[in-house]
Structures are given as structure tokens and as C-alpha cells.
Amino acid sequence: MPLVQTNRLHKFYGTNHVLKGIKLDVEEGEVVTIIGRSGSGKSTLLRTLNGLESIDDGTIEVDGTALVAGEGDLRALRQKVGMVFQQFNLFPHLSAGQNVMLAPQVVKGTNKREAAEIAREMLARVGLDQKFDAFPDQLSGGQQQRVAIARALAMSPKVLLCDEITSALDPELVNEVLTVVRRLASEGMTLIMVTHEMRFAREVSDKLVFMHEGRVHESGHPQEMFAQPATPEFANFIRSLH
């Protein structure tokens, strides 16, 4: 059974039908990249998976925790789904270490000593164990984003959502973040990403999902999809990348 499963997912913004019956299965350890033009609903889809966007119809199930048309235990779901944002969103009044420690302490009731241990371990995973005491405004964008990844990992999520996590970075800082993501993927972390880094997506993804006008228009293995687009819309999309 897939780790993440959505069925007949519908979402409206007023009269604007942005998700039109999405079915998405993600197996444990799989790396799935959602691509598509802006306005195709890819970010919205990602954000429904941890309840940042409500859904109007359908079901979401992550590791046995279900949301049915928006009803369900959001807190339980969110503990299984980590998220990293385009704008990092670190807490500015807390050090890197404290940013990572906070959620285990507050949400899971982990004691301070243990939380600090977890934080050191997670910061080491993203190569920032030296920056435990640094504050967000003392870190580069790439470092902030790696702290944000460590913060999400500290909750031991079953799946990590990455919402255009390199889009706000200077070009020379993109690689350090992608390196961390690549390592997570190779360690078997389940990842669902929205990204414009097409080369990276082709390299690390097990599955590519092309969204078009609120639907999963085409999906499959990235190499095959790029080699042989099944739909004219995806072919157009690939062409527009060059």
C-alpha cells in the first residue's frame, strides 16, 4: 500500500476549480517531483498534503492517517508530513539549534537535553553542526534553507514536502541545498517536490508528475517521459524549458 495516497482530490478558490480530482500514489522511499506551469495547481496540491490548504472533496491518506474532505486529525497528519518552504520561514528570534529543537519540545514533549541532541544530529545531516548557535539573519540563504530542512527532519516525518525550495536562492547557493536533498533521497527518505530545477528533477526523481489545468496530465519515469512525451501539453512544456 502506498505511503501517501490521494483520491478524487478537489479544491476550489471561490469559483476557480484548481484541483480537479487528483489521484496520486507515493510509495515509501520514492522521490516524486511535481512539475507544470504556474497556475497548474502543483503548489496547491503539495500544500493540501499537510493541510496547509483545505480540500473540498476527496481523501488524503498518509501512513494510515486520513483526511476525508478536509475532516480528520490534522495534527497527527502534520507530524507525519514535514515541509520545507521557498522562503525558508525560520523563526527569526531563535538560533538555528533552537529552530530545530522547538517542534520536538512543543509538539512531542521531548525534554530539552534530548531535543538539543536531536538538533545537533539533524544539523550535522545538513552539514551545519557548526552553526547551532547562529541566528537566521547570520546565515546565508542556502544555510537557512538547510536549517529549515533539519527543522522538518527533527520531527521524523514519513514524507518531506519541498515547495520550490531553491527558487529564492542565489544561483551559487542552489547546489548546497540540492546536495542535501540528493543525500536524503539516497538515504531512502520519501520526498515530494515542486521544483523548477528540471535537470535535478530528472536526476533524483523516481516519478515525475506533470500537472496541467488542475489535473495530473501525465506521469511516469522521468527519463522515459522526457524521451517520449505522451501528450502535446507536456511536449510543449519541455520545449518551453529550453
Binding site: 499537510n50 493541510g51 496547509l52 502534520r78 518552504f85 517542534a103 512543543v106 509538539v107 541566528f135
Partner: protein, 223 residues
């Protein structure tokens, strides 16, 4: 013609002036601490529309921000006894200060909380924080730091405004000054001195609050 300044009265009234200053500072500190506490409560209930507190707070804030402090003070001191609530001078003065500062800090703190970037809230949500946890761990401290200069200014304004409490014979600094000049008939010197003391107090409070704000921001570097 040269006016002959005569400050020789000061030593005789030094103790009294000291008590007046202490009274004024007491009103300010008490009003500040409780006022800000009320402000946080008010900001929470108005921001999240917690019934019936949001409505009550709105009436209270509008009432106290759109009427003169002196009238508020009279209403409390002379009006409340009709409802069977009898307050002595210092109690009425304290209550008026707390309520007045509470109304202003509600609006100031609400503005600070409202300015929380959406990304901060989403980050907290994605980490499975409840609304209450998000408020205490993510919103409150940055919001207070953001509006700290405005709160500090309001506190100084309230400290200066507390001179009005002399009108109900609360024995704060202005009351003491009135008393002294009615004895020595040296109005100019007495109010000159009083002005200097208020000025000194205002500068001191501003510096102190500024230092507290800087410490709170700098504490992160040490922690």
C-alpha cells in the same frame, strides 16, 4: 528687572518630592505591567475573535482611546461609588492608569501580532503546532520586539499623563508640586523643578526600556 530665583526650599521638601516621584513611578510601573498584560489578552481575543471577549474589548478600547484621561479618572473616582464601588485615591489612580494603558497597548500589540509574516504561521502549522503553541512560541516574542518602541513611547506618555491624578488628590509628583507652591508661593521655581524631574524621569524610562529591548534582542546572541 531681574527675577531672583530662590531654590532654597528644596531641602525642606526633598522627602516629599521623593515620595511624589515614587508614587508617579509606582503608577507607571503598575500601569505598564498590568496594562501590557491586558493588552496581550485584548490583542489575542480581538485577533482571533474570541467571543464574547472580542466585543467587550472593542468597546473598552474605543471608550478609553476616545475620551480624556481626566474624565476617565473622574468617572472611576466619583462615578463608581454610585455603583457601590468605593475606591480611595491611589486605587482609583492605579485603576485608571491600568485601564488607559491597557486600551492603548491592546491596539499596539495587536498591530505587532498582525504583522507576523504568513510564512511564520505556515511553518508553525506544518510542524503541527496548535494555535496556542504558535502564539506563544512563534508570534509573541517577535511581535513584542517589533512594537517595543511604540509601547515604550506609550508608557512615557502615560507616565507624563499620570500628573492628572493630582486632580483626585493622589499624591503623585504634580500633587506634591501643587502643595509645595501653595506653601512657598514660589510657583516658577517649583514648577521649573517639577518640569526638570518629569523630564529626567521620561529620559530615564526611555533609556531603561530601550536597554531592555536591546537586551531582549541581544540575548539571542548569548543564548
Amino acid at each position: 528687572m531681574a527675577y531672583q530665583f530662590d531654590f532654597t526650599f528644596i531641602p525642606d521638601y526633598a522627602g516629599m518630592l521623593g515620595q511624589g516621584v515614587a508614587y508617579t513611578l509606582g503608577l507607571t510601573v503598575f500601569g505598564g505591567v498590568l496594562g501590557i498584560a491586558i493588552g496581550i489578552g485584548g490583542a489575542i481575543s480581538r485577533l482571533w475573535k474570541i467571543r464574547p471577549f472580542d466585543g467587550l474589548y472593542q468597546c473598552y478600547v474605543e471608550l478609553f482611546r476616545n475620551t480624556p484621561f481626566l474624565v476617565q479618572l473622574f468617572l472611576i473616582f466619583f462615578g463608581l461609588p454610585s455603583l457601590g464601588i468605593k475606591l480611595v485615591e491611589w486605587q482609583a489612580a492605579m485603576l485608571a492608569m491600568v485601564l488607559n494603558l491597557g486600551a492603548y497597548s491592546t491596539e499596539i500589540i495587536r498591530a505587532g501580532l498582525q504583522a507576523t509574516p504568513k510564512g511564520q504561521l505556515e511553518a508553525a502549522e506544518s510542524l503541527a503546532f496548535t494555535r496556542r503553541e504558535t502564539f506563544f512560541y512563534v508570534m509573541l516574542r517577535p511581535a513584542l520586539l517589533k512594537v517595543w518602541p511604540a509601547l515604550s513611547s506609550q508608557l512615557v506618555i502615560s507616565m507624563l499623563g499620570s500628573s492628572v491624578c493630582s486632580q483626585i488628590s493622589a499624591e503623585e509628583l504634580t500633587f506634591v508640586a501643587n502643595f509645595i507652591q501653595s506653601r512657598n508661593f514660589r510657583a516658577f521655581e517649583t514648577y521649573f523643578l517639577t518640569t526638570a524631574i518629569y523630564f529626567g524621569l521620561a529620559v530615564m524610562i526611555r533609556q531603561l526600556l530601550g536597554a531592555i529591548g536591546r537586551y531582549a534582542i541581544a540575548r539571542r546572541a548569548a543564548s
